[in-house]
Symmetry: C2
Subunit: 386 residues, 2 copies
């Protein structure tokens, strides 16, 4: 956005979502209980955007200026939904990596982890098999004596592990997030990582002689995610804190953003189902509220969302990179002449929103060019219509 704003002589406005960053409606008490957290939801956020944009335009005497909304990931869903619900405020939306179909039963629940697995399998079948086999080895250790001490050594933990669960989460996170940020250039989105980090991970695995355990090989690969910058002497596996403030997101997944996920037998993760009742019980314990698993499809359209978009929507770009496991919940085919799906085989999580670099591949440059052209078309139509 910073790269293209000057072309459009655009004012860039980053609107912080309520309950994130510094936007705490009840100050320090904002996260205290469901009483305050109840105001944290996507509809209230969309309404905030509507009010802010409308009053900002008045304040700067730009009532006639067209507004295009941009968002990636959850922000991408918000951008698409905003265009759908507030077409009088935004003339178009660029929704990057927006999994608006990740709800209810709109897509198979195993899609996400199948996609992560496909990323690794596409690079190397051995890599996929090693990771797939590592979980059973880890599981076996939890019943062995002295296993945790050995595991702590293998995983180079700063302190001795108390269970295998944290090691499991640690590996899991590394593989999932690396698939998400499998960018074509060196990047530092979640963590500093090299270009195409999934390839690098698999190269690490494929290089290690096969007499080494699958678990140790999986660990070495995962270390790339946590220690590419070589700044860590040991890993704080039990205290790995997610740095990008997911507390609010956890509340949202427990209320409206219910996205059921399972691991199929074909995935590289241990097979698992989605036990809605267990999930709901956890939410009730954490927040004292029950999730509303059908709310998003009720509010924004479910089974017929594509039809709704086709008939009532316009001027939305859904961009998705197929490396990104969230892409499977995205809109991957054009819905109409003005609801466009831009899909890149080698793209990852909202890669188009990253600043341009000299090493960007042609397909990425082309993707961004297409987006600019489409947005320009919206603007031309808007001004012609004035």
């Amino acid at each position: 956005m910073l790269d293209i704003a000057p072309k459009f002589k655009a004012l860039l406005v980053f609107i912080e979502h309520r309950f994130y960053g510094k936007s705490m409606p009840f100050g320090k008490d904002s996260y205290q209980s469901a009483k305050t957290l109840g105001y944290l939801n996507s509809q209230q956020a969309l309404a905030d955007f509507a009010v802010l944009i409308t009053s900002l335009k008045q304040n700067v005497s730009s009532e006639a200026s067209p507004v295009v909304v941009f968002g990636g990931s959850y922000g991408g869903m918000l951008a698409a939904w905003f265009r759908l619900k507030y077409p009088h405020i935004a003339i178009g939306a660029l929704a990057s990596s927006a999994p608006i179909l990740q709800f209810d039963k709109l897509i198979p629940w195993s899609s996400f982890y199948d996609a992560v697995s496909q990323d690794f399998k596409d690079v190397s079948l051995n890599c996929y098999q090693v990771i797939k086999g590592s979980w059973a080895e880890l599981e076996a250790m939890s019943t062995q004596k002295q296993a945790l001490a050995e595991l702590s050594k293998t995983f180079r933990t700063c302190k001795s592990l108390h269970s295998t669960a944290s090691a499991r989460d640690w590996l899991w996170t590394a593989f999932v997030y690396t698939a998400m940020v499998n960018y074509p250039t060196k990047a530092d989105f979640m963590k500093p990582l090299p270009a195409y980090p999934v390839q690098k991970m698999c190269k690490i695995i494929d290089k290690i002689p096969s007499r080494a355990t699958k678990l140790s090989r999986a660990f070495t690969a995962a270390s790339l995610y946590y220690n590419y910058s070589r700044s860590e002497n040991c890993f704080k596996i039990e205290h790995e804190v997610d740095g990008h403030g997911l507390h609010g997101w956890d509340w949202q997944t427990c209320t409206e953003m219910v996205m059921p996920m399972t691991c199929s037998k074909e995935s590289m993760f241990p097979p698992s189902g989605f036990d809605y009742e267990e999930f709901a019980e956890q939410c009730r314990m954490k927040y004292g509220v029950s999730p509303r698993p059908h709310w998003i499809t009720t509010e924004f359209g479910g089974e017929r969302i594509q039809k709704v978009l086709k008939r009532f929507g316009s001027n939305i770009i859904f961009s998705n990179g197929m490396q990104d496991p969230w892409s499977r919940g995205g809109v991957l085919k054009n819905i109409s002449s003005s609801i466009i799906a831009l899909v890149t085989e080698k793209g990852a999580h909202h890669v188009d929103f990253r600043s341009a670099t000299k090493k960007d591949p042609k397909w990425l440059i082309q993707l961004r060019k297409q987006e600019v052209e489409i947005i320009q078309k919206w603007l031309n139509e808007y001004y012609a219509d004035l």
Copy 2:
């Protein structure tokens, strides 16, 4: 709706709006303060409808059945807005007497009272002039000694009046509501009234010799509204309680449904402006909250609402009767081939929603027939599209 449902083999569902009737989310405490009343607003009501309709369809295994929403007055606004925001749930909306343009500066603020005045003027210029002149006579009495006693006598009050203000409100209400319900047949919507009650009121005024004061003539006309059934021996002018539960509506007008109204010099009411600050201060005193005068236009579209409806909406009938002063805030011209304005010169407040009677005039029978035909078209299109 009861008349036409059988033709469509339709299930009729009357959804009670939260905070009205028996739908009290906090029981007896629902109206206690802004803390509970905060949940009384149009967006929450629309979301209720979405959830109720979706889950009801599931419960009765009718997921594929099309839904058409009906509403009159505020309910008509809700119906139109519901179709706009939830096109995936309702295939069409019949919005009768829905003043969706009565907000912000979308129409002249004097429209409403000018329309009331026009109703009376169209029947008899003398009638209009008598009512127009009556306010000054009433005003003059407030400074005279013994005036209130005299006024109490003129107005046949059950108890002596303490001020002229209540007599003013009493007259005012009678003229405004009679214009609204100026139906072509005997009816009992707000009060029992004869056919075309504005004509009857003016007939009363025109019959009284002009030596009588304007005020006494206006009183006699207004009595028609309060005592057509001849059940009252005296009038409880200071304790006239509005029977249809407007407490919730008062909250809504103090928060989101801010509809500024003024009386022009041409109206039959004393000229008055709209002092927003005074209005806001009253709301703060009553409820401890400030109104959001631009919210409705932000949420549903303001200056460009017609454009928004044309481009993003479809399948809405806006029906309006020009006798109804609310018609001036309604959609009176077709917006597109499927957003249709049905306007009747002699119609009053959602007259089309009243049960058919043997005395219905031709234009009313025709209006209802058109509505049925349009709804049938929506259904045909829906089934063809399945």
